[in-house]
């Protein structure tokens, strides 16, 4: 997918630019673009390292576990019929709490493990089960307490209160999560398996 987007953008740019006589601007963009990317990486570096470090402490001190304990009843509600103390439920909780803290790297292994556990209970191994769908939709809806990367980008371009968008981010991610899970559940019921 990305092959076509990346290649397509470059091809269209070159053809479109030459047709409209902007070859000089395109040449300039090639060099300024790669430079801008490095600047972006360097500004990302500080924020990402700082939060990875802080979140490692959160993980080690049991904050992730505490959050996943609080989440248990919610998970029970979202995955009816899933054994509450079982491995699948445990991994799902850990995945969600890691996502909440913005620990994408820690969340993925928990998520993949949860999928493996759900697959064990799946009667048809090539078709997604209802729980799998709910779980993947939860992951694509992304609920993050502190959107650090975005705040960093805003402060890079001169925002004095880069986190003032937090209530909006929470509202949007919560709504999309609720809508996504509701639709998944509704469609689950329609085609029972």
């Amino acid at each position: 997918m990305l092959d076509f987007i990346w290649g397509g953008m470059m091809l269209v740019s070159v053809i479109f630019g030459i047709c409209s006589g902007r070859q000089a601007q395109i040449t300039e963009a090639v060099f300024s673009g790669s430079g801008a990317a490095v600047t972006l990486c360097i500004s990302l570096l500080g924020t990402i390292c700082l939060w990875s470090g802080l979140m490692r402490i959160a993980e080690k001190s049991g904050i992730t576990k505490a959050i996943s304990f609080v989440l248990k009843p919610v998970i029970r509600l979202l995955f009816p019929g899933l054994q509450p103390g079982g491995k699948a439920a445990q991994y799902i909780c850990m995945n969600v709490s890691a996502n909440l803290l913005g620990l994408g790297n820690a969340a993925t292994p928990f998520g993949l493990e949860a999928m493996k556990q759900l697959q064990a209970d799946n009667p048809d191994k090539t078709t997604a089960s209802n729980h799998m769908i709910t779980f993947v939709v939860m992951n694509t809806a992304s609920v993050q307490l502190i959107p650090t990367t975005i705040a960093m980008l805003r402060s890079k371009y001169g925002s004095t209160s880069p986190m003032d968008i937090i209530p909006a981010v929470w509202a949007a991610s919560l709504c999309s999560l609720l809508v996504g899970v509701t639709i998944a559940r509704l469609l689950n019921g329609r085609c029972k398996r």
Binding site: M1, S13, L40, G53, T126, A141, I165, I166, A171, A172
Partner: protein, 173 residues
């Protein structure tokens, strides 16, 4: 309301440092270990960011971005979205580093406190790379028929876009 953001970071740091000091031995070592992993994360996305930002920059310089934005302006008007965010609406579910690249350009062009800049940020913060995530999760266990996953996930993404715009309008309008 917008003050919550100013408290969120210091409060989270306070909680983490206090629990860390009480419950973790060698807390600074743990911090630097985690920070080192962050280094790897950035190193891993650097090549794709360099490729994608260059592509976005070329796309903008050729004038194609303006044409695309203009072509999508009826959709933007219909949804009452700032039309500058439309390219991001398309790219967001497809590519994570692509949308960071595009968001970076949008913020540079219009500023972080513009309506477009704010909506773009909230959109990026409240949705995920839907196609990538579902491919990875289902691919890892060999599931081929994913049934209504994408329908539900994409409607959720759409909802995130609409609420992002509305919330920015209410908070900053």
């Amino acid at each position: 309301m917008t003050d919550i953001g100013a408290y969120a970071v210091p409060v989270v740091i306070l909680i983490i440092v206090i629990t860390g000091l009480i419950r973790v031995k060698g807390v600074f070592g743990v911090f630097t270990g985690g920070a080192y992993d962050g280094l790897e994360v950035v190193l891993n996305i650097a090549p794709s960011l360099i490729g994608l930002i260059t592509a976005v920059e070329m796309f903008k310089a050729s004038g194609a971005l303006d044409v695309l934005t203009y072509a999508m302006s009826p959709v933007a008007n219909l949804l009452h979205l700032p039309q500058e965010v439309m390219p991001l609406v398309i790219l967001r579910p497809i590519s994570g580093s692509g949308s960071i690249a595009l968001l970076d350009r949008i913020l540079e062009l219009y500023g972080p406190n513009s309506a477009a800049g704010r909506v773009a940020c909230v959109m990026c913060g409240s949705s995920e790379t839907t196609f990538y995530t579902s491919t990875m999760y289902f691919g890892s266990i060999g599931v081929k028929r994913i049934r209504h996953t994408l329908v539900a996930a994409l409607i959720a993404d759409f909802c995130a876009i609409i609420v992002s715009n509305a919330a920015v309008g209410i908070l900053f309008g």
